[in-house]
Symmetry: C2
């Protein structure tokens, strides 16, 4: 009997071979080679292709068995499906523990022949003691090791782990969440889930000490009851965010042809997730927002929000949006009003939560950093700072006063242990805007705030939606702890 | 009796004076001066301030009456509220027709003295035959004339007109919608609406031949019945999009202190807007999306969508999102399938709507522009093209193949008279990404598509939400026409 390896061991190979490496930039065999070079894979990696001798300056071996190592831990198969069975024989000779089948066109085709071939591959792999990831997937992104499934993913690690049935979805999630400061323990794209499936992955991430937050994209599960059991255990340990795809009529049909998955009834999914304490989201933007919320905000169980920044219109719409998501905006403290009264007698009884910063124009309050005052307020659960971008102030004032004030004060709120949320719009800027000082300054300020580990959202609505789910999760966890 | 002028005449001044012009960059009197210089105001403009002789290189007059013109059409008042009554006397001497009171701290303070002063100003202005815009507002952006209320707003004109009770909201709307290609006839910020109010503005934009689509931000209305009457007439002529602010408890209180408005019951608002055929939105993003939809899409009355582009995950979530907004995704035509069968026998029965473009990798279909094929499809109401950004292809392939293919084919769909919608994500890019070829290339491609007059949305959800409201509007208009 071959030794049993945990997923943690399997995802930490010392030696990897890319079988079907290629110099054609359109195919996976080329792309994985580039990802390994770009990300500086920590172990050794070998390229295999009988038809090439060099790719991207690296030596290519004619067969897996020609590699001068007795053990290859991990094979990325980029060959056609009909070559996989014989590849498994070679894998056996090299003591391969995990084969990642980037190879596709198997069960997801819906055809008998391919479905049978997928079953045969699985059966043979099991017999040989080899685990299969996929087929039809992008495999593992594990930044600590330099394992990657796309170009230019972050090299640093972080607390978010994930398993994605869609490889493109996994890449989109990592790339866009990374811009918001999220970093990852590891992210696994698992496609058709012929062997390693959502239940095993969920169990793994639930117990993985490198992962504090679990994000996932699921089209269908093989065994609903097992999945719900695993989910109930996982959600009690850490937040589990699930983007369930294939919710409608069309999506259910697509799930079959994308990853050979049975989508299942969406009402059953909703009920099961609610009962388990998992967090359901509807699209990639929400998945990213939810990961940002959990990664950068502490466990919040209250819904009292204080909002500051931006003019009257932005403040009013913010208040509407937060309230519509179930938050409340209590009034400012008596102490705050007292300080305000000393500084601006004409305004003290007028300024409310949310604070319309434009009211302070032309008053002694322009010298005061309101956000800093607010950082001393108690009686709130969430501090929201809107960064307005429409002020017509010149570059030097932005650079020397506005941006540093904003950055320092939101950082100060965080340092005082208070949950700080920044709302900064993202415009569809073009090449011309990339050359303008204002758009560059906004981008620079946003990046500095992100780098301080602050939760940044592109709109009040997206912030409120994600934080509402975060509050519900931690409130549920609290009640679970009280019961147990 | 002084002559009566229409708003159209009032908003087209030949001579403007900025009273309270200033060299302090933090105050309106400076900012308006800059806006006029930057935007190249077509008429003459004069600066007035008894304490200055030169601002930004321009001569400053000690009083309005010192200006060497017998007529000044339009005055922008940036002075304190207590100077406005005597300013009106000077205005009368110069035959001023419209005073835009950027001046604030009047009724919105909620205080008796200021409320009384606002009433006195209005009464005196009426007596002198002078119309008042505001107080507490940013005034008029009229690109054709070079009138502006913020920096760097588009110089070209376009079909969207608007009236906004929030000046910051008006600027945010114009700036961000402009990045999506929207251009404006004129946009008016009207603040406390002491004289020129929402009803007069709505009537004006409804009959303004330069305006095809009306966008508005309203906190409260003075006369609900009159407003509903005006709205019912306007919505039959052109789309009227309303962002109603002050929907919740906090917002209602804020409306009083922001523009002295009574917010009114949100359920009454919803019912009234529905009955009139107006389009209600909840935040600035939705307002912008709705303007984009109406500006770049023809009157669509059906909900059959075809979606292409992106991998399986993006396709599935797109399908879910469009279906959840009430659209359907019918299957591809027999003709399309026949062409597909000729080119890729292995895929023809497998590819569905939405089309997972990643399936074509490594097949002869990579040489085919699928979107171009799709442009010949009939039986759909909306063509949606997802631009995926996660492909790991190198710069030359992106630049020479992918981007031009995408641009040409969506343009082609539009040329064939079919409504084309592009979904292109907007990442929170920072200064480093602005230097990377990939993010620049995405921005460049997006800008080219926008410049072709195509509707571009940052997510499937935002596209579906806005287009759902567009379809409902045109369906309602069609039924109204059948009835009448």
């Amino acid at each position: 009997m071959p030794e049993k390896f945990s997923l943690g061991r399997l995802f930490s190979p010392s030696t990897v071979a890319i079988v079907g490496a290629s110099s054609n930039p359109f195919v996976g065999g080329h792309q994985f080679t580039r990802f390994f070079i770009d990300h500086g894979f920590q172990g050794k990696f070998y390229l295999v292709n009988p038809a090439s001798s060099e790719i991207l300056g690296l030596k290519v071996y004619p067969a897996l068995t020609a590699i001068p190592e007795s053990n290859v831990d991990y094979v990325i198969s980029c060959i056609r499906a009909d070559g996989v069975l014989s590849l498994l024989d070679d894998c056996c000779q090299k003591n391969v523990k995990l084969v990642h089948l980037f190879t596709a066109r198997l069960k997801e085709t819906g055809r008998d022949k391919e479905t049978k071939l997928q079953a045969e591959i699985l059966e043979k792999a099991r017999r040989l003691g080899i685990r299969i990831l996929g087929p039809n997937c992008m495999g593992v992104y594990y930044p600590k090791l330099g394992l990657s499934f796309n170009h230019e993913l972050p090299r640093e690690s972080g607390p978010v782990g994930g398993f994605f049935q869609s490889g493109g979805g996994a890449a989109e999630f990592v790339r866009y969440a990374a811009l918001r400061g999220v970093r990852f323990s590891k992210v696994v794209s698992y496609g058709n889930a012929s062997d390693i499936d959502e239940v095993e992955l969920l169990d793994y991430f639930a117990s993985d000490s490198e992962t504090e937050i679990i994000a996932s994209y699921i089209e269908g599960v093989k065994d609903g009851r097992k999945f719900v059991e695993a989910l109930a255990l996982a959600a009690k340990k850490k937040p589990v965010i699930i983007l369930k795809a294939g919710r409608g009529r069309t999506g259910a049909k697509l799930a079959l042809s994308h990853t050979a998955s049975l989508a299942g009834s969406i009402s059953v999914w909703k009920a099961a997730l609610r009962q388990c304490g998992a967090i359901m989201v509807s699209n990639f933007e929400e998945l990213i927002d939810q990961a940002v919320a959990f990664a950068f905000l502490p466990p919040i169980t209250g819904k009292r929000v204080i909002v500051a920044g931006g003019g009257g219109g932005k403040s009013m719409v913010s208040a509407d949006v937060w309230e519509e998501e179930g938050f409340e905006l209590p009034d400012l403290s008596a102490e705050f009003r007292k300080k305000l009264k000393e500084k601006v007698p004409a305004l003290w009884d007028w300024v409310r939560n949310p604070i319309d910063a434009s009211l302070f124009q032309g008053t002694p309050m322009v010298d005061v950093n309101v956000l800093e005052w607010l950082s001393n307020e108690d009686g709130f659960d969430i501090w929201v700072a809107n960064l307005t971008q429409d002020d017509p102030l010149p570059e030097d004032i932005w650079e020397n006063i506005l941006a540093p004030n904003f950055l320092n004060s939101v950082t100060e709120i965080k340092k005082k242990g208070k949950p700080a949320v920044c709302v900064i719009e993202t415009g569809e800027i073009g090449p011309a805007e990339m050359e303008s000082w204002k758009w560059r300054a906004i981008a620079e300020t946003r990046r500095q705030i992100v780098n301080q580990g602050l939760a940044v959202f592109p709109s009040a609505e997206r912030a409120a939606k994600a934080i509402e789910k975060l509050v519900n999760y931690w409130t549920w966890r609290e009640s679970e702890n009280e019961l147990s």
